[in-house]
């Protein structure tokens, strides 16, 4: 693309007056904002065509606009500039269209959740449980579910972050031969375990040993889901640490375990933290193990080791099932709380990653 900001330009005439040969290095080019114009024309045309034909589907309108946009930018660039520029423009336009298509569901989801969830989300909602609240009543809150999610996810993280981290250290720094290959294989298999299967596994243990449902049991199922994610992401981060740093440290006469602890892990800590936070985000939204193992409850139970608890995803499912207008509102508000929880975690992870990242300043 050229940096010219005016409309289609004349080739600059070199000094020497008329008839002098034109420069070989300059050529006609479209203005920088041309794609915006193409998009506007494409949308206008698509609206025109669709109304004329009497189509009502907005999806259809959008698709016609996208195709028109691609066609217009290709043809216009071919005419004004040349074939090579046109191909370049076409590729750029395709990237833009794909980006917009990908972003639409995301923005729509966020918008719906925020606009519908904000109606009920307030201090009262966050600090009260559903104890004694009928499904149709417009009161009650999410406190018991929030406590449940925090405790269950917290316990799962406390168990699986160290386990996953150590497994990854073994795989990258020590693992050789068939044992390491077997561990890698089973970690890959575990990454694909459906959450209901992890739940059933813990349920079978509960039935054998006659254990009652509790937050801890749910946390154990979440641990099974979380460990492989932590192992995978940590492993990738440790592999990114240059071997030169390990050798530099070993050559100073520093033992291998201290090299790993003081050189390798600090260099990768930013990425490892991000990986753990993404794993937490994944398990925070799991519903199936909670239904099976934590049982669900309307009451506040701050003890994760005994008695039924609730959790945010379970609460959303439960409120949706009630089917009253008031319960739909509560479900949306809880969904907003869950999204906010995951987003805050992500922001914290980014903060830690930036704070701990290898410094390059002078």
């Amino acid at each position: 693309m050229s940096h010219a900001s005016t409309a289609v330009q004349e080739r600059p005439t070199p000094p020497g007056g008329h008839g002098a040969p034109k420069s070989a290095l300059t050529s006609r080019s479209l203005p920088r904002l041309a794609p915006v114009g193409f998009a506007a024309v494409a949308i206008a045309l698509s609206v025109g065509i669709s109304t004329a034909a009497g189509w009502h589907s907005k999806v259809q309108w959008g698709m016609i606009a996208a195709l028109l946009f691609l066609a217009i930018s290709y043809v216009a660039t071919t005419v004004v500039e040349n074939k090579r520029q046109a191909k370049d423009r076409l590729a750029t336009s395709v990237v833009w269209v794909c980006f917009l298509i990908a972003i639409i569901p995301l923005v729509s989801l966020l918008w719906t959740t925020i606009s519908r969830g904000a109606e009920r989300l307030d201090g009262y909602f966050l600090t009260h449980s559903m104890a004694g609240v009928l499904g149709s009543e417009a009161s009650g809150g999410v406190y018991h579910a929030l406590i449940g999610t925090l405790e269950q996810v917290g316990i799962a993280t406390v168990i699986s972050a160290p386990l996953g981290l150590l497994t990854a250290v073994y795989l990258v720094e020590y693992g050789k031969g068939s044992l390491a290959k077997a561990v890698t294989f089973f970690v890959d298999v575990m990454t694909g375990i459906p959450s209901i299967v992890a739940g059933l596994f813990i349920l079978s243990i509960m039935l054998i040993f006659e254990i009652q449902p509790s937050g801890l049991m749910g946390a154990l199922a979440l641990t099974i889901l979380m460990i492989p994610v932590v192992v995978r992401s940590t492993e990738e981060m440790l592999k990114l640490v240059p071997n030169e740093l390990r050798e530099a440290s070993l050559a100073l006469g520093i033992p291998k375990w201290r090299t790993i602890l003081k050189v390798v892990l600090p260099t990768a800590i930013g990425g490892i933290t991000t990986g753990v936070m993404l794993a937490i985000a994944r398990i925070a939204g799991e519903t199936a193990p909670i239904i099976l193992l934590v049982f669900g409850s309307q009451l506040i139970n701050t003890n994760p080791f005994s008695g039924a608890q609730s959790s945010l995803p379970f609460y959303i499912y439960e409120q949706y099932k009630v089917g009253e207008a008031a319960s739909y509102d509560r479900a949306w508000a809880a969904a907003l709380v869950l999204i906010a929880f995951v987003m805050i975690l992500n922001l914290v992870a980014r903060g830690i990653a930036r704070w701990k990242a290898p410094k390059t300043g002078r």
């Binding site: 390990r246 006469g253 003081k262 290898p358």
Partner: protein, 258 residues
């Protein structure tokens, strides 16, 4: 405190591949010994066998003896970690620890070995940075990250880090190959000063550099493609560059190689 190294019948492998074969030589204390030879002839591999860094590479193993003042580095009860504290190493590419400041980089060897007194640490860091001719350039920004320095400064930082643990021998694997002529000159001057205190072994592709800095020069070569590297000859640097006893050395040095 500098020590003599006697190598006899040393052969090194990468898995089943024999990289160097049957090398014997003596490295004199308080002197600079340069290794020259074509790429892939095993100079770096040989250098890494002198502080047991070769076995860090997966599949790396060594046969033969390396005597450091009569102590065999490859004896069965020798701890490689202790060997590496005695025989330090500087690598081809500067590799300061990215998470640490300039001060922490130099102090890393002492701190992570756990064998230091806090009061000593400042003195050791200053002495090492002065020893590496870097003190005046960094004394006002010791707590800034080491990766913010220029390439030549980073390499001198790595040398300061290596000499901070007071090794007996300093191995340098092409320490100037990533640096410009000015930084190279700074490092070469430094090598001249360091040889008063340490035994220095340097691998270099730059024959002028070998001629400038070293007292003795060893020439390595491959017998043929795919064969292990061998030591062709080792002698006083002056003799190697003026009147070598083996024809292959003269061919390599005068550029008539191959």
């Amino acid at each position: 405190m500098a020590k003599r190294i006697d190598i006899s019948g040393l052969t090194a492998y990468y898995g089943s591949h024999k990289a160097i074969e049957d090398i014997s030589m003596t490295v004199e204390p308080r002197s600079v010994t340069a290794f020259i030879g074509p790429s892939g002839c095993g100079k770096s591999t040989f250098l890494r066998t002198l502080n047991r860094m070769h076995e860090v590479t997966p599949g790396g193993r060594v046969e033969g003896k390396v005597l450091l003042d009569d102590e065999n580095l490859y004896a069965s009860n020798v701890d490689p970690v202790t060997v590496r504290r005695t025989v330090g190493m500087v690598f081809q590419r500067p590799n300061p620890f990215p998470t640490m400041s300039i001060f922490d980089n130099v102090a890393a060897g002492l701190r992570l070995n756990g064998s230091y007194r806090k009061s000593e640490l400042n003195d050791v860091v200053e002495k090492s940075l002065r020893g590496a001719n870097l003190w005046n350039e960094v004394k006002d920004r010791l707590n800034k990250p080491g990766s913010g320095l220029s390439g030549g400064q980073q390499q001198r930082l790595c040398i300061a880090r290596a000499i901070a643990v007071e090794p007996q021998v300093l191995l340098m694997d092409e320490p100037c190959s990533a640096l410009d002529p000015i930084s190279t000159l700074a490092i070469e001057d430094l090598i001249g000063e360091l040889k008063e205190r340490f035994t220095i072994v340097i691998v270099t592709h730059n024959m002028q550099q070998a001629a400038r800095v070293s007292d003795r020069t060893a020439f390595f070569n491959l017998a043929a493609v795919g064969k292990p590297g061998r030591l062709i000859e080792i002698d006083e640097t002056e003799r190697i560059f003026s009147n070598p006893s083996v024809q292959a050395t003269e061919d390599y040095i005068s550029g008539r190689f191959g």
